[in-house]
Symmetry: C2
Subunit: 301 residues, 2 copies
């Protein structure tokens, strides 16, 4: 049972009835109804040896990354962060400066979006560094944008450029697209949105699955990062490297065309395809349409 199978199994379990829960497990954030507010909740962890290599990146970057990953999940719902809590499990004997650097990294990321760090827990053990953050947020405009809201005929767009996040180091230094998501939510009618953490193909797969629809992507419209262009297979890098932390969203096509013309966001917006009724994902390369696996594109010779 891998991570995705475990989450599927969890979603099949009967859940407690609660008036508080608007959206439960399975989106970028849960949505709670607290008084008249909709509150977004997300949690994510970063482990040494999995999400970062401590000897190479240092403790500050580790702290930055775990907070930024959570901020990216709030962005994916078109939310603004309200408050964060963090847990830190330190390896025994970690130098004081490194311990403080974790906190400095958490704060650098959170402070950039005015998000207070209001609590946490610290422990130490004979294992490696593991950090978790839980973030609360609220919708920037009206309601949160779910993965499940895509409609047939929607344009599919992404911010920034994709691929090569590991070799370029972007996975440690990315800017969560909080401001861009809030701007988009005020500017257009967002139907569905997700942040690209697993890779374009996999995350588009989440939108399609939750919306019960399919997608057709035009390969030459996918915005490649410099690092992806330098990869052996640039298209594969953009489709499946993951950890881009860009926004992937769907909206009415006429609104997408305006966005592309006006380019209101600093990282840029690309119009890469459309939502279709048949629940499959296809990739158009040159004139040919071929299947696109949600786990990532495999180059066919």
């Amino acid at each position: 049972m891998d991570e995705f199978e475990f989450i599927d199994w969890i979603r099949q379990q009967p859940s407690i009835k609660s008036d508080v829960v608007g959206v439960g497990p399975g989106d970028d954030c849960a949505v709670l109804r607290i008084d008249r507010e909709q509150v977004l909740v997300t949690t994510d962890q970063c482990a040494d040896g999995v999400h970062f290599l401590l000897p190479q990146c240092g403790a500050e970057a580790a702290g930055y990354k775990v907070m930024a990953r959570n901020l990216s999940d709030i962005a994916a719902m078109a939310g603004l962060p309200m408050a964060a809590v963090a847990t830190v499990m330190l390896p025994h004997g970690m130098a004081d400066k490194d311990v403080q650097d974790i906190y400095r990294g958490l704060r650098r990321s959170a402070d950039a979006f005015g998000c207070p760090l209001v609590g946490g827990d610290v422990g130490s053990w004979d294992g490696r560094l593991l950090l978790t953050v839980t973030l609360l947020g609220r919708p920037a405009v009206g309601k949160p944008i779910l993965r499940s809201g895509a409609k047939i005929g929607d344009a599919i767009c992404v911010t920034g450029t994709l691929g090569g996040s590991l070799p370029s180091g972007k996975h440690l230094h990315f800017t969560p697209r909080i401001s861009e998501a809030a701007d988009l939510a005020g500017r257009v009618e967002l139907h569905a949105m997700i942040d690209i953490s697993d890779g374009l193909a996999a995350d588009l797969g989440h939108i399609c699955r939750e919306s019960g629809l399919g997608a057709e992507i035009v390969a030459e419209n996918i915005p490649l990062s410099t690092a992806a262009e330098e990869a052996e297979d640039p298209l594969a890098a953009a489709l499946s490297d993951g950890e881009d932390y860009e926004l992937l969203f769907t909206l009415p096509p006429e609104q997408a065309e305006l966005l592309i013309k006006e380019q209101p966001l600093a990282p840029g917006i690309a119009y890469i395809g459309q939502i279709v009724a048949r629940p499959e994902m296809k990739l158009r390369i040159g004139g040919k349409l071929q299947p696109m696996e949600p786990r990532g594109y495999r180059h066919r010779a």
Copy 2:
């Protein structure tokens, strides 16, 4: 720098100004103001080899414990849980049944208090099992009860019995005192409250420090658990073993006397001492008053 020094250092750092934050780091929960509600937020972790021994207790008990620890922090503020999120970092190759048992343990603990598990994150690594939970709650009655609210002359009370949580296994199977705390909050004027996780002496030290006051405890009034009675030094066990997860609270003495007489709570209530002006903790053994260290009582021959 140990855990407490790190937390002290964090509390000295300048924090982001925010209208949302009612209570920041340093209590059992943070308190956020969301619309007209006060929302409690707490997070805590449990690691294999530190908070439980996986081969001995099994995965279900580990899941139960991490959720129950967080519920106990909500109880410490006289709160009721609203929703939980959890992260799980699995050792590579963990059996499917064990993975599912973690979830079952989390749910057993949360379900007992009607608390929905609304999201989380799952990863795996070559390290040991580490679990975190973040809980949101709301005050059971009116306002949350802080550590800092003790008043001179307050009675100091505890629920249940103390000491020997490790040998008795209570640290894995305790019932978080959610119902008892809500009952107390509706019945008496609670001034300060904490759950006993570090040990009676250390946690009373937190109340005294945050309230800027001191305490005198009467040794013979401390309720000893059966496991503490079997320990080499029963009093030391009750004062400093920790992980009792009982409530330690202060209130007007006449109300404490009524509680002792009526004993409205199933685990029982003991009246163990009083809050004093001088910011020191003292322990009365027989007729003699001696200093009590917040890190735990040391037996003097």
